[in-house]
Amino acid sequence: MTIEPGDFVSVIGNNGAGKSTLLNTIAGTLSVDAGEINLAEHRVTNKPVAYRSRWVSRVFQDPKMGTAGDLSVAQNLTLAEKHTGSLSLRRYRRKGQTERYLDLLSSLNMGLENRLNTQVKYLSGGQRQALSLLMATLSQPQLLLLDEHTAALDPQTSHEVMELTQQIVTEQHLTSLMITHKLSDALTYGNRLVMVQDGQIKLDVRGAEKQALHAEDLMGLFES
């Protein structure tokens, strides 16, 4: 499977079909038994998660996973920014940082701009997930992994976060891979749809062909 620059791929499939496995092997939390993974021309098959983070960012399913709860919103954003390396002994607070973060946070429209110094654990799930999304896209990754990132949210918030995702991805022309259980989301968002079953890619459609797909077609495929 090759993901082209600019693709927004939605991945669907049954429980246990291998969606998460696919995503985890790309992110590096699972090591592969066979095959290889290349990220932006770099071979990363056996590299650790931290090494791959130069090219890949990830939004987790659980809002608690993507952010450090005891740290403030600002500290979380600092962690996500491009930097000189985590062994650096330079101060992590920089001039102009606060203003920049405030701008970014207010663009999310989640009320986060008043919470810059709040510990993330006191935010709502939606706010945490929006922050997580902002952090993942802050360093403009070559590939953005979205792991059912709206599954733990209520329908309204889920919709907001999904719209936000669409907006950020389009604005920054990010290449993305999104796992979802919502067929409607898979059909609405993205230019490419991949269906996984029993560890194999069963369907891979893009562009106009994807536009023509309907939820009923997919349901039919699920049952077969």
Binding site: Q75, S86, L89, Y92
Partner: protein, 333 residues
């Protein structure tokens, strides 16, 4: 009596700060403490007996502690052992190493000049202890406050808080854990070296119970001083160390024999673990009462039990005392 406790507490403070680093920042209970504390003492005393100055010997004690922490860190991260087991292994191994360094179970100083001896001899022992301890604690606390303002410090905090997220943001978490272990055990060994100089000897058994002392002091410190700012938390650790010493001195004043001090330490730890739990219960009750009053519900009419089950485990996660209070604030909003 209080003055003696302040002096002794300041000498114990690096140990408490070391335990704080692994226990609170990295979220690891590190038993290496019981081995690295006497290691610091053994290295410091034997180097002084070999003619090194007290300053060099104390510093070498610190470095030896860092090495012990490195070993535990490697066992934990690279060999993927549970951190408790990694600590136990290093601690057990260190017993033999400490025996080799000291050559016998108890190694007294002869007439070597300790760090305290660098100060004018006409000053009282308590004053000397407080000055030496105070200077060292200032350097340690100052250094750590600086560290936690750097990228490295932020990465350490993030690693302890959420390793998965840290790795996803490019932090090599194994390295951070190893650095944390090294710093922590370095400070613990430093404390061991200081206590040995203050006592005038190093003893193979002086590490027994130090992890309990450390944890109890951390919790006592957090009861008295809590905040999110690093300098408040670190000052809390120093205060905790001093108060803990004072409690022990009080107990000894009541006629407890020295041999019973260990069980007393254990009991103090149990008490300081339970105290915040009771505090929590009481606060939750009061808040619920106020809230019910606000919305005009008769408390006795409802069946809802105001007590929220709080497990002892919950206490070992950070900021436990503050959670209910903040919840109350949100209610007020």
């Amino acid at each position: 009596m209080l003055v003696t406790s302040i002096g002794q507490g300041l000498l114990w403070a690096p140990l408490v700060i070391g335990v704080f680093l692994t226990f609170r920042i990295l979220d690891i209970p590190d038993l290496t403490t019981e081995g690295s504390f006497p290691l610091g003492a053994a290295i410091t005393i034997s180097m002084m007996l070999n003619g090194q100055s007290a300053v060099v010997a104390t510093l070498m004690g610190f470095i030896a502690g860092c090495l012990a922490g490195w070993v535990t860190g490697i066992l934990d991260t690279k060999l993927k052992m549970p951190s408790l087991l990694a600590g136990i292994l290093t601690m057990t191994g260190l017993y033999s190493i400490n025996m080799h360094i000291m050559g016998k179970a108890n190694l007294p100083l002869l007439d070597q000049r300790t760090l305290l001896g660098l100060l004018p001899a006409e000053w009282s022992l308590n004053l000397q202890t407080i000055i030496v301890g105070g200077v060292i604690v200032l350097v340690v606390v100052g250094g750590l406050i600086w560290l936690f303002r750097t990228r490295l410090g932020l990465s350490l905090m993030a690693t302890g808080n959420n390793p998965a997220m840290s790795a996803a943001n490019g932090i090599y978490t194994d390295r951070m854990v190893i650095i944390g272990y090294m710093l922590s055990n370095g400070l613990i060994a430093l404390s061991g070296g200081l206590i040995a100089q203050s006592n005038g000897y190093a003893d193979i058994g002086m590490g027994i119970g130090t992890i309990v002392i450390g944890l109890a002091s951390v919790l006592v410190g957090e009861i008295f001083l809590h905040g999110r700012k690093m300098w408040i938390r670190l000052t809390g650790m120093v205060v905790g160390a001093i108060i803990y010493r004072y409690l022990l001195t009080l107990a000894m004043g009541l006629g407890f024999p020295v041999n019973d001090l260990k069980i007393l330490s254990a009991v103090i730890l149990v008490i300081v673990i339970c105290l915040p739990l009771l505090q929590n219960k009481y606060r939750t009750k009061r808040q619920l009462k106020r809230y019910l009053k606000q919305i005009g519900v008769d408390e006795n009419a409802t069946n809802s039990h105001p007590e929220r089950r709080t497990l002892t485990k919950g206490l070992f996660s950070r900021n436990q005392q503050r959670t209910p209070r903040l919840k109350g604030r949100e209610l007020d909003d």
